[in-house]
Amino acid sequence: EPEVTQTPSHQVTQMGQEVILRCVPISNHLYFYWYRQILGQKVEFLVSFYNNEISEKSEIFDDQFSVERPDGSNFTLKIRSTKLEDSAMYFCAVRGAVEQYFGPGTRLTVT
């Protein structure tokens, strides 16, 4: 099972601030995903990334969000100006042959 790490594990930020969440897949993968889970709710897809560009994105993934893979290993999710409703657990995932493997998540708290 591929190992996926995420940093930080918990981020507290003030409304309007920018945050960058990082994902480091240990082995080589082609497809990367970001999902989020608001407390008590189900996991929702944000964006998929393939061949260094966005493959698909959900309606949640508006202009405040961006993703990149700046150095060929780290995969980042940036929220430019955080809102209270961005408070959630953010999960990175990588695709195996068929399945997806998830990182431990970053808990983002916007105050």
């Binding site: 099972e1 995903y33 189900k42 698909e56 399945e99 997806q100």
Partner: protein, 117 residues
């Protein structure tokens, strides 16, 4: 509309009892099917997957799931539950098998499992 339904929000069983968690999907054809488990404050761990072949699939931690095409279901089962199985369980589908290109997962709303001693 494409959807994944987990009709049971919360299930309570006694330790040692059998367990079945329900999952139904609504897609034009059979997507890839998965069960994930999430312990409190933790990430999502893959329990098992179905993408073709034998309709009864075995997973980790003693779990199994049965795919029933006629019922559009993929129910998770365990013959004897342990206290450590208390967690939230998510059914997920991936329509890659239908669309032909890698797609994202769509999750059900989850079933919270409580295990009584």
């Amino acid at each position: 509309a494409q959807s994944v339904t987990q009709p049971d929000i919360h299930i309570t069983v006694s330790e040692g009892a059998s367990l079945e968690l329900r999952c139904n999907y609504s897609y034009g054809a059979t997507p890839y099917l998965f069960w994930y488990v999430q312990s409190p404050g933790q990430g999502l761990q893959l329990l098992l997957k179905y993408f073709s072949g034998d309709t009864l699939v075995q997973g980790i931690k003693g779990f199994e799931a049965e795919f029933k095409r006629s019922q559009s279901s993929f129910n998770l089962r365990k013959p004897s539950v342990h206290w450590s199985d208390a967690a939230e369980y998510f059914c997920a589908v991936d329509p890659t098998s239908i669309s032909g290109s890698a797609r994202q997962l769509t999750f059900g709303s989850g079933t919270q499992l409580t295990v009584l001693p």
